[in-house]
């Protein structure tokens, strides 16, 4: 079967208007400024080798910080240093008001711990059932974040979670639950889990963190984060 002449290349049966619009469309690339800003948001991830096997600054962060999280929101995505002094990228406005607080379960393993890691079906190209994932302990009372943040993307939600890690890991954990609820097959499921594990550690719930890390390893045996998680947990 032969491929038809593309609109942009014209042809006897292609109206000039169509050829003109499609030709223009092929040249409609973002500006250099757009791409520079995008690169700035991605930060050090751009310098990582394939598979993220060598993250910048990895050796310099402490054992806890070694989890490293990449999550960019409306702005930046990778933040490897979780420490309280980690500077926030300058172009990350926190213009979206914080959602109502959600208190995670204080001492028991929360439902999210026993739930399978939500699939990154998008990245894998296959549907991943969520299995017996239970709602979070607070899900029944949790407001519908989507209704209050109708345009929030996965990246934005996880960036809020990442940003909350240092000062309020409980909120960070709650935000990862929101992500799981709203993006059950989101492409950033792995990043969400890394944030959640770090949040659990910061809450002193090391057993929970270890269990969740183990679930992560089962779900994503080839993940670039797995080694980092292994080295950061007791």
């Amino acid at each position: 079967m032969s491929e038809p002449v593309r609109f942009r290349d014209g042809g006897a049966d292609v109206p000039p208007e169509l050829a003109r619009l499609f030709a223009a469309g092929t040249k409609d690339l973002p500006s250099d400024g757009d791409l520079r800003r995008l690169a700035a948001r991605l930060g050090p991830v751009l310098e990582s080798p394939a598979g993220g096997s060598a993250w910048p600054g990895w050796a310099t962060v402490g054992k806890l910080a070694a989890l490293g999280v990449l999550v960019a929101g409306s702005a930046v995505f990778f933040a490897l240093n979780f420490g309280p002094h980690t500077p926030r990228p300058p172009d990350v406005p926190d213009s979206v008001p914080a959602p109502p607080e959600v208190s995670p379960a204080p001492s028991v393993v929360p439902p999210v711990m026993s739930a399978p890691v939500a699939g990154d079906a998008a990245a894998n190209g296959s549907a991943v059932p969520l299995g017996s994932s239970a709602p979070s302990a607070s899900s029944s009372s949790r407001p519908n974040a989507a209704s209050t943040r109708p345009a929030e993307t996965e990246a934005q939600l996880l960036e809020r979670a990442r940003t909350a890690l240092s000062a309020d890991p409980a909120r960070a954990l709650a935000l990862t639950e929101q992500h799981r609820a709203h993006f059950p097959a989101g492409v950033l499921a792995q990043e969400r889990e890394v944030i959640a594990i770090e949040a659990l550690k910061r809450l002193g719930r090391t057993d929970d963190a270890a269990q969740r890390a183990a679930a992560f390893a089962r779900r994503y045996p080839n993940s670039a984060y797995r080694k980092k998680l292994n080295t950061s947990l007791p």
Binding site: R6, T26, A39, L46, G51, L70, A72, G125, A146
Partner: protein, 180 residues
């Protein structure tokens, strides 16, 4: 034409290299798939986060280009799946743009983009995706079928239907313009 890069297994490559070569095309693809301009940067970020995570597993069975487009489509699909953005489309009536347009004005690029997006908004997601990948991104139909994950014949059917719809809309716009 999209600069085609074939990554072979074990090839030294960084996300930076992939970004430098393809970020503009990733951005443009989201535009053409009907993602609002405000959300395009975030979705591009999601793509390159996935690239960072997955690049080491990329086996070179397909071109990097088709691999990347596959990620784009899935990210866009996830984005659309949310009810409040599902109907997010182009912002203009195709008839208005096409009937009035003869040549690009001072802000020709933006105007042409709006016209094109209005046209593409006439298509459902399946047809639109095939049309965008073939007509605008320059993939072969075999590559389109691979990225979309459908039989080649299905991809052709969608392309033909999409092209026919484009011509239909254009004809209607012309008639509308001639009546004014």
């Amino acid at each position: 034409m999209f600069p085609l890069t074939l990554l072979k297994p074990g090839a030294a490559s960084t996300v930076r290299e992939v970004f430098d070569e393809h970020a503009g095309y990733v951005w443009r693809t989201f535009r053409h798939l009907g993602i609002s301009e405000a959300d395009v940067p975030d979705l591009c970020q999601e793509v390159f986060v996935v690239v960072h995570r997955k690049l080491g597993e990329f086996e070179g069975r397909s071109s990097l280009k088709t691999w990347l487009y596959g990620i784009c489509l899935r990210v866009a699909s996830d984005h659309r799946r949310r009810a409040h953005v599902r109907n997010e489309r182009a912002h203009a009536e195709p008839g208005e743009h096409l009937a009035a347009s003869g040549s690009f004005g001072p802000d020709a690029r933006v105007e042409a983009r709006a016209e094109l997006q209005a046209l593409l908004a006439e298509l459902d997601d399946d047809k639109r995706t095939v049309l965008v990948l073939y007509e605008l991104e320059g993939l072969t139909m075999k590559e389109v079928a691979e990225v979309v994950g459908c039989p080649l014949q299905t991809a052709y059917s969608r392309l033909h239907a999409a092209r026919a719809r484009m011509l239909e809309v254009l004809t209607a716009a012309r008639e509308q313009g001639s009546e004014r």
